[in-house]
């Protein structure tokens, strides 16, 4: 793909760097923009026409996708791999917790165990995500998926569980209804929490 202006290139790079924290991304974009403009000016001084200079600089410069991959590879994928996977694991634990919270309806005898287990895992997730300061792009990506999982997996699954519960006890059991109601409130709160956290990370 060829770009007709520095702005167009920078906008495309901005999209490629979407998983970077905002202040980091802004700094990268400003630095690259200054570089492109300076090179264009140098070429114009050496006799190039405005258009030819822009064309030459933007064709020779690394395409946005490749450049953002180099940023990722150089700065995140090779360093701190352990910390990276640990955080992602904790995020996944949170998701497990939310899933477990939906199960008591199926197995009444295990209700309490599931509630404690699921509640604890969800709590760990909330605490870690709240206090975590340095976010890596892969981690941001993982957190980004959570609202979708809530919307498209956990909510429909919980409705399915409610239906199974009604079917198996041949009628509406009040406990199931109440429990589902509380569960949906929790899902909604976690959904809001994750949205808020994502906003906070991106503003860092």
């Amino acid at each position: 793909m060829t770009y007709s202006s520095v702005n167009e290139y920078i906008n495309s790079l901005k999209k490629s760097l979407v998983d970077f924290p905002t202040n980091e991304r802004a700094s990268i974009l400003e630095e690259i923009e200054v570089h492109l403009n300076e090179k264009i000016n140098d070429l114009i001084k050496s006799g190039y026409s405005n258009e030819a200079a822009i064309n030459k600089v933007l064709t020779e410069f690394k395409p946005p996708q490749e450049l953002s991959e180099e940023y990722l590879k150089d700065n995140y994928k090779t360093n701190d791999h352990f910390q990276n996977t640990t955080s992602i694991a904790i995020i996944n634990i949170g998701l497990f917790g939310l899933s477990f919270l939906a199960l008591p309806i199926l197995k009444e005898s295990l209700d309490l165990a599931f509630i404690i287990f699921g509640g604890l895992l969800t709590l760990i997730f909330v605490i870690i995500v709240t206090i975590k300061k340095h976010w890596k792009p892969d981690e941001i990506k993982t957190v980004n998926v959570i609202p979708k999982v809530i919307l498209y997996l956990l909510s429909p699954a919980s409705m399915l569980f409610l239906w199974i519960s009604i079917k198996s006890s041949e009628g509406i059991v009040m406990f199931s209804l109440y429990y589902m109601f509380v569960y949906w409130i929790i899902l909604l709160l976690i959904w809001l929490f994750v949205k808020l956290i994502l906003k906070k990370i991106r503003l860092q």
Binding site: I32, V34, H35, N37, Y71, N75, N79
Partner: protein, 111 residues
Amino acid sequence: MRIDKWELQLRKGIIELAIMLFVKHRALYGYQITKTLNDIPELKISEGSIYPILKRLESNRWLYSYWDEPESGPRRKYYQLTDKGWITLEKRLEIFNSSANIINSLEKGGN
């Protein structure tokens, strides 16, 4: 032509060493460093590739960076070697030189 992976990695390491040497005594900005590298055919680097490298060196605290605030014209981000960077550079140069010596003596011994 198939690109030799060994050659690529060696080049990458040498370019990084060269960047650290450039900013050892004075602060430079990305465009300046790219121009200086491209003046040496062996160190030619594709446009833009320098920035992820600078970012990594900065993340490792081997370089520090600051934005200048000129009265006219755009501001630029300058990089200079830190004390930690000096130590790393010295160590790397030592490894580089002793490796070159070993290879040279092996080559001579093999003839």
